[in-house]
């Protein structure tokens, strides 16, 4: 742990990533305390201050009905990060189990499972999520389902490729010889060797889930108003370009900053854990 911290802080880029991630986590956690206008995360109107450019009162300006954009961004981070955590907590274990089974057991199980993964991977991720949302109502919960459905196959493929090569290793053979159960070999022997790759991928994926989730709400298929979401804020403001530039530019930069942080940090983790790209 201390060694890890030392490696991270020796690389200025990874350190920047760690700081960004911590800042954004804090912003999301303490949004009600930090936000100058904590009530502006709902359907409040304040027409006296509508459509104002950035000022000392509203650091990032206000939207069409006078809500403080900075406050709304802080609340939107809660939604984005929450969605990311839920999606990854479901998608990573599901994909891992599928990948372990396919990689270790082989045979027809491998053939069936990996073809299934191929099917999911052969539809562009965003299009698959859009199709799932097409039949469900566009809500936050359904957006989570849609993103999870498109996400697990990537973990299955990652874990599968590692498990397959580990299957032939001596320590697996040794475990088989002393009669260890399949569950023991996959979970206690092979899984620990997949963990560095899984953890790195989860860090990087936090950023990508934020991108996909904001893309869905940008198209009007995710979180519904008045709940603030970075994607729908950009979509709303895009209609008033170039005059009310602050309505799109700040939420857009907020996405960029968060994802950039997770990417830098994930890149650093990759080095520490020795995971190949």
């Amino acid at each position: 742990m201390i060694r890890a911290l030392r490696i991270i802080s020796s690389n200025p880029l990874s350190l920047t990533g760690l700081v960004l991630v911590l800042l954004i986590l804090a912003a999301a956690l303490f949004a009600p305390l930090i936000a100058p206008f904590p009530t502006h995360n709902g359907s409040v109107v304040d027409f006296a201050f509508a459509n104002r450019p950035p000022s000392t009162r509203n650091w990032m300006g206000t939207d069409l009905v006078g809500r403080d954009i900075f406050s709304r961004i802080l609340y939107a981070y809660r939604i984005s990060l929450g969605l990311g955590v839920v999606v990854l907590i479901i998608a990573a274990p599901v994909g891992t189990v599928v990948g372990l089974m396919a990689g270790y057991l082989g045979g027809w199980i491998e053939a069936v499972l990996m073809r299934l993964v191929d099917v999911f991977l052969s539809i562009p991720p965003l299009v698959l999520a859009i199709a799932v949302l097409g039949v469900l109502e566009p809500t936050l919960a359904n957006a989570m389902i849609a993103v999870t459905v498109m996400w697990w196959p990537w973990y299955a493929r990652l874990v599968y490729s590692i498990a397959r090569s580990e299957r032939e290793e001596g320590y697996v053979l040794a475990a088989e010889v002393i009669g260890a159960s399949t569950a023991h070999i996959t979970i206690r022997e092979i899984l620990p060797n997949c963990l560095p790759a899984i953890i790195t991928k989860m860090t990087l994926d936090m950023g990508f889930v934020i991108i996909i989730a904001s893309s869905l709400s940008f198209l009007g298929l995710g979180v519904q108003p008045p709940t603030p979401d970075l994607g729908s804020m950009v979509a709303e403001g895009a209609r008033y370009l170039p005059d009310s530039w602050w309505m799109t530019v700040f939420p857009g930069l907020a996405i960029l900053l968060a994802v950039f942080g997770f990417n830098l940090f994930g890149d650093g983790l990759r080095e520490i854990l020795g995971v190949d790209e």
Partner: protein, 342 residues
């Protein structure tokens, strides 16, 4: 059988299996829709008799396996049903909107290769020095924002503040170009209207860059990573010992073996672009599949949704077959092999 042909036939075989799976997946998604599809098709004011008639027409009262059979039979005949949104054949709708999207994605794909690979080579040649760091930060930045954010930023900078590019659309209204392929860059040239061709290209550049940016970053990162690994190989050391120019070593000895793994990822990135085109099209009012796709989704227009997803999946499979063939062609081990490769 030549090795390239053998790979083609094997890929086609896998693609058929995947396509069957995709059709099942799409069918399953369409059948978990809450509510009665017949009722949705007719609207709330339809009588029960009308609903029953439509149910019979849509085979909704038959077993699910039979329903899937009808679905596949229709698809194989090129019949994707009728769109409830436009009241036209779904195939007609898709034929109208797909070329605009493909044109955008293909141009973006070329940008990804033409800019991403050289950036990766540059970073690898100067690995550990400042050009490498600059490229690393730049590429991380490009993959860190969704394409609609890049679209908005590019539009703001290069259409509004610096009015270099048009804000929206595919072609200036003053040009009247007969539609033959739907690809405006091709149609304008077929019509012999060079000014319109330039205008079409002019409209393409900004949306294509917005779409390509994250792909450029990924291509560059991957090429760099693969090349840095190759630089550790003994034959590079030998080339250096022979005193070959660094530029020649980079191009001929370090880049070539790295190209193949990069191409695989570029194929996958192309898939992401087909999805991201939805976002860029929305910002630039690009009359492609996106507006149609989002409109039919919001109206729960099942036939149109299924048709659109199927066509996109098919496009993606075709692109990946092309990429695989390209790899087989570029890889001398496959090109010259006489035995079957895995």
């Amino acid at each position: 059988m030549s090795p390239v042909l053998r790979i083609l036939s094997r890929r086609l075989g896998i693609s058929v299996i995947v396509l069957i799976g995709v059709s099942m997946l799409i069918f399953a998604i369409a059948r978990v829709i809450p509510g009665d599809p017949a009722r949705i098709a007719l609207g709330p004011n339809a009588t029960d008799d009308q609903v029953a008639a439509i149910r019979a027409e849509m085979h909704l009262d038959e077993p699910i396996v039979a329903q899937y059979g009808y679905f596949v039979a229709d698809v194989l005949r090129g019949d994707l049903g009728e769109s409830l949104y436009t009241n036209r054949r779904v195939t007609t709708d898709i034929a109208e909107f797909l070329p605009a999207t493909l044109e955008l994605v293909i141009v973006a794909g070329f940008m990804m290769v033409a800019i991403g690979l050289p950036l990766g080579i540059l970073a690898a040649r100067h690995r550990g020095r400042w050009p490498d760091h600059v490229v690393r930060v730049l590429t991380l930045l490009t993959v860190s924002a969704p394409s609609f954010v890049w679209a908005v930023i590019l539009m703001l900078l290069f259409s509004f503040y610096l009015p270099l590019f048009p804000v929206a659309g595919r072609l200036n209204d003053s040009y009247d170009i007969a539609r033959t392929t739907g690809f405006l860059t091709v149609d304008t040239l077929l019509a012999g209207n060079f000014a319109a061709f330039i205008d079409a290209l002019h409209h393409l550049i900004l949306p294509a860059i917005a779409l390509a940016l994250s792909g450029i970053g990924q291509a560059a990162r991957l090429t760099r990573a693969n090349m840095v690994e190759t630089y550790d190989k003994p034959y590079i050391e030998m080339a250096q010992a022979f005193g070959f120019f660094p530029s020649r070593i980079a191009r001929r000895y370090a880049f070539k073996p790295s190209l193949i793994p990069s191409l695989t990822i570029i194929g996958l990135d192309f898939a992401a672009m087909l999805g991201n085109a939805f976002l860029v099209e929305a910002v630039f009012a690009w009359p492609g599949l996106s507006r149609y796709g989002v409109a039919v989704i919001l109206r729960k227009d099942l036939n149109a949704i299924m048709g659109t997803v199927l066509v996109i999946a098919l496009t993606f499979l075709v692109v990946n077959i092309i990429v695989d063939l390209l790899i087989a062609f570029l890889n001398p081990r496959i090109r010259h092999s006489t035995r079957a490769t895995s």
